[in-house]
């Protein structure tokens, strides 16, 4: 809705959502990255394939190229400004999406992450979610 991000881009990235092929390793900035192709399993996906750069130090995605239904490069997403929380969880604070076909871009910035806020499984039941504000 008015941005370069589709719902599909923002849902949690589960391993079973794709099939994969490793292409090569190459430098990415100061790090080294695995470059892999992944193919969405979901038949109504907006993409035929995605190319992902994952760094070999912290195993976080650094760049994703999205290819449209005709196989052409559609968008490039850069994950920037990673910080680690609780010594465990890496979070990128800037998602920079550029549409290669239109030149338009959208930047999503995230801030004020707070962990261990006291949520339990109960809070994700339907009756609780209806009351969430």
């Amino acid at each position: 809705m008015g941005s370069e991000f589709a719902y599909e881009d923002l849902v949690s990235q589960e391993v079973e959502r794709y099939t994969y092929k490793w292409l090569r390793d190459e430098p990415c900035g100061e790090l080294t990255c695995h470059v892999t192709e992944r193919y969405p399993v979901y038949e109504h996906s907006g993409y035929t394939k995605q190319v992902v750069w994952t760094d070999t130090t912290d195993y976080q995605p650094r760049k994703v190229e999205f290819h449209d239904r005709k196989g052409a490069l559609l968008k490039t997403l850069l994950f920037k400004d990673y910080r680690q929380y609780l010594g465990l969880y890496w979070r990128s604070h800037t998602f920079d999406m550029v549409n290669a076909q239109t030149g338009k871009s959208t930047v999503l910035t995230f801030s004020d992450y707070v962990f261990m806020v006291g949520l339990s499984e109960q809070d994700f039941r339907k009756n609780r979610l209806k009351r969430a504000r």
């Binding site: 809705m1 008015g2 806020v117 006291g118 109960q122 809070d123 039941r125 339907k126 009756n127 609780r128 009351r131 504000r133």
Partner: protein
């Protein structure tokens, strides 16, 4: 008024000593709206106002206080409408005044609240807790606040909710001299009841819901005073009038929705006893959504429903317009930043082809305004149809709403934890809430 009083007493007694825990969060917001109804025809019945153009104003503030990290919440939502032409439509109601407590494995609500049950679009059969605020609109989507004690227990096997409903709300009806009141004036103040204690009887309800794979299932039972009155003709001071009577009923309801990709299959069915013979009623339908039509961001939903109601038509049961009808509808959401939505629908009586048609459009303007247009038309209404009393009351509503919001933490929050808007109560970007409309 007794109903509201009971609700406020429940609310006041339930909110624990907030002063003991000062670190909470306030959220204040309000909607203020200007409305103009334009009637297409001259009135059909003597005594009704002949004004083509009918303005009104409404104010709906919302005050929320949360503490204990959101485990406790107090909500107050009063509502006021001032209508130039309909004295009954000028009214004040407390939509919500309650304390919500999210406990360990249970949720508790004490006070006045609004509860919605159901999956169908054209008729909300199983939705029995709140009374219709019938002066607000024809579609039964606006409700009066209901006092209650509600306890929900949620586990892997589903959610079980119990309701104790003290205090009854009588249905609101248009004034004698207003449009949309029907063929005869309604003596709302002279309502009678089955229950000896009238509107002080206590009603109870229970509901079980669970999701089974792609199926959302709900079953409920209500025992108490029917929210639907039976309107009987009586001799009034100035001629015949309708007097409401509220029967004691038992109603069992089932609501099911099956999701299959872009298809939603829906069913609502009730069995009700207490209005003469026991009867059943149902709404069954389907909704198909075309997502992102023609490479745009817009979604188009297509709906079709069949409505059946088996109640006696000999006067033992309240009249209904939906005994054998079909509904067709379409909903177009542009998914643009202005949240532009268009809705078109018609309910057609299979027997006499009487049709109630609706057209609605809404759009936001900037961060703080929303404009809406709603048209309701009564087409080819047969003289014997329940809707014949309002067949000349086709109207279009124009509505302009302004949204206000301010929220702040309390002074005991450390500076770095405060919301940037703390201590500043100013207009800010806010997604307007749907005013009473069922949101999926």
């Amino acid at each position: 008024m007794v109903g509201m009083g009971v609700g406020l007493i429940l609310f006041g007694a339930a909110v624990p000593a907030v002063a003991e825990k000062p670190a909470g969060e306030w959220d204040l917001s309000a909607e203020v709206g200007l409305e103009a109804r334009v009637f297409a025809n001259k009135p059909d019945h003597p005594g009704q106002s002949g004004n083509t153009f009918s303005p009104s104003l409404f104010i709906a503030p919302e005050i929320i206080y949360e503490w204990n990290g959101g485990d406790d919440r107090a909500t107050l939502k009063p509502f006021l409408r001032l209508d130039r032409d309909d004295d009954n439509r000028s009214h004040f109601d407390i939509r919500e005044a309650n304390w919500l407590h999210l406990g360990d494995g249970h949720d508790l609500v004490v006070g006045i609240d609004k509860v919605f049950w159901g999956v169908a679009e054209s008729r909300h059969l199983v939705d029995v807790i709140n009374q219709d605020d019938r002066v607000e609109d024809l579609d039964g989507e606006d409700k009066l606040g209901q006092p209650m004690i509600q306890m929900a227990v949620s586990r892997d096997w589903g959610t079980l909710t119990g309701f104790v409903l003290p205090g009854f709300r009588e249905r609101s009806f248009p004034s004698d001299d207003a449009r949309l009141r029907g063929a005869l004036p309604i003596a709302g103040d002279d309502a009678t009841y089955d229950a000896g204690r009238e509107d002080r009887a206590i009603d109870i309800a229970v509901r079980y819901t669970q999701v089974f794979g792609d199926v959302d299932f709900g079953i409920s039972h209500f025992h108490g005073t029917s929210r639907e009155p039976r309107l009987s003709v009586v001799a009034g001071a100035t001629g015949p009038e309708l007097r409401p009577h509220y029967d004691r009923i038992d109603q069992t309801g089932v609501d099911v929705q099956y999701t299959a990709d872009a298809w939603l299959w829906k069913l609502e069915a009730i069995g009700r006893g207490g209005h003469g013979s026991y009867f059943g009623a149902a709404v069954a339908g389907v909704e198909y959504t075309l997502y992102q039509i023609r490479e745009s961001d817009a979604d188009l939903g297509l709906l079709a429903e069949y409505l059946y109601d088996g109640r006696d038509e000999n006067g033992d049961a309240p009249l209904t317009a939906f005994e054998n009808d079909v509904f067709f509808g379409a909903r177009l959401t542009l998914n643009d930043p202005e949240d532009t939505t268009l809705l078109a629908g018609a309910i057609i009586d299979v027997g006499d082809r009487s049709t109630l048609a609706t057209l609605e459009a809404s759009r936001r303007i900037g961060a703080d305004w929303k404009v809406e247009i709603e048209a309701r038309a009564l087409i080819d209404i047969a003289p014997s149809d329940v809707l014949s009393g309002v067949r000349k009351d086709d109207f279009v509503t124009f509505r302009l709403t302004r949204f206000f919001e301010c929220s702040r933490g309390t002074s005991s929050d450390p500076p770095e934890a405060r919301n940037p808007r703390v201590d500043a109560c100013r207009d800010s970007h806010r997604r307007p809430s749907s005013s009473g409309r069922y949101v999926r």
